[in-house]
Symmetry: C3
Subunit: 207 residues, 3 copies
């Protein structure tokens, strides 16, 4: 129950981040809704395709789509106010990342995936929607460029998998793991943690 509430929050957060990015790219209202939906639902669709769940769960539940479309429309109408809530949006995005990475891992484990595959599929569920959003808008995906993002998702997925192996109760483990993802991601944003970049390439690499 608490998990369903969390999942809705994650969907809203991802839909808002997709819609905001689409507004920035000067798309029309339909484009904003499509990018919002794709960002919110993309990770779950990729997860279900990898696990062989047909058709994808998120396409079967209309409340999911209604919530995401409504969120995108609100962002379209009130985007200057939403943009001023920059910190809230980043927090919500981190929450979505945590919720989807951990719930994706649980769903993969329940579908009979190995622990190993479940962690990768969980991480992909968390970061997939944002990656699709950036591809659609012709950006190099944020997950490849920015502070500790995929690593935070992977950490949450690994925590869920450890809890599953040790037969800890799934509910509390998921909440703790999602909270860990949010904490790592917000700390990375706040302290500007960044991974090292390679030395500038020599001329022979600049083909």
């Amino acid at each position: 129950m608490a998990l369903t509430a969390l999942e809705f929050l994650g969907l809203v957060a991802f839909a808002a981040s997709g819609a905001l990015a689409a507004v920035r790219a000067r798309l029309d209202v339909f484009g904003v809704v499509v990018v919002g939906l794709t960002t919110a639902l993309g990770g779950g669709v990729i997860r279900d395709v990898l696990l062989g769940i047909h058709p994808p769960t998120t396409l079967r539940n209309w409340p999911y789509l209604a919530v995401c479309a409504a969120t995108a429309l609100v962002v379209f109408a009130f985007h200057p106010q939403v943009a001023r809530l920059r910190r809230a949006v980043l927090l919500a995005d981190a929450l979505g990342l945590g919720v989807f990475a951990t719930s994706g891992t649980t769903i993969a484990l329940n579908s009979g995936a190995t622990v190993y595959a479940a962690c990768l599929i969980g991480m992909t569920t968390g970061i997939g929607g944002g990656a699709v959003r950036d591809l659609l808008l012709r950006e190099i995906p944020l997950v490849l460029r920015k502070e500790i993002y995929a690593v935070a998702a992977l950490a949450g997925a690994v925590l869920v998998a450890i809890g599953h192996e040790l037969r800890w109760p799934a509910g509390p483990v998921t909440i703790v793991a999602a909270a860990a993802v949010v904490a790592v991601r917000m700390l990375a944003l706040w302290r500007h943690w960044n991974a090292p970049v390679a030395r500038p390439p020599g001329p022979e690499l600049r083909t």
Copy 2:
């Protein structure tokens, strides 16, 4: 039978639109054929992946690929003449959109998808090939930028789903729904219907 003829017309139209876009992007003849094939077959492959039809139908029927490859080669050879047929290409693209959105919805319903999922999968079948084409060529997908495109596809899918629920005969319903998609799309092109764009973002959004 009429549907199979329509489907071939849709394939040819999409293959031509992909090949023309590839010629514009200065790709070589293989690139033109690959983009033509991907545009024509992409929507159907995405549909079959979402529905769990393995391997995708379009990859199993060689006439589909032969027709698409031949179309792309013709466009490569005669592209100035084809480009002058701009209106015919736009009409054919609208026809392809209508055919694939409606046939995709029917296939999804026959595979046991809920009405709700079938509409989304049908819409995706219609717009998928063009979205992949634009991603490959580094364009922001047309479906996100332009006149009533995804909405026309969704309308056709919903008509098919309504007919299915009311147990109307599938053949005529599909033809009417595909015609409706073409009509909406051509009207949108002709009258320059466009959805509203958000007000220019304030400076706080231009990170």
Copy 3:
């Protein structure tokens, strides 16, 4: 056994090519690892999604990922030296193309795909990882732009399919077919074989 060794070599080659491209795009160390992994494993994941193998094989075998991640880290640390090995990287990339195109065809045939679908899926397995790499880094995929690349992969897939139809022993056929892919690709690079490009489009095409 020889095939497993070849497959590892192919994975290493593709991981290195992805990591090098990511270093050029100035990604941080995580981005370099993610692009390296995606390039190496992407073709196999696409193959398994098309064939309905859930979850994808490559996500279930940790040695695959460990080898790819280690390769990407080595490239990150020593990229100027690796870039100087430009010829070795191109050779390794061709080897990966040959290995994955032919092994993908075999796996598709063993999964019950028709000869026709197996060739297409094999070709896609070979070129898929590189296409994803280029999409992530906002490049027009190399496979669409450059010397005989998809065609070399398709030729290898067709050789495997012919051998399968004639009931030749699978092992030697695969090795010969993979060697043919490498030979075609290296000849194309060495002799600068390029497919023809269409005449410059007239003004009516430059919308």
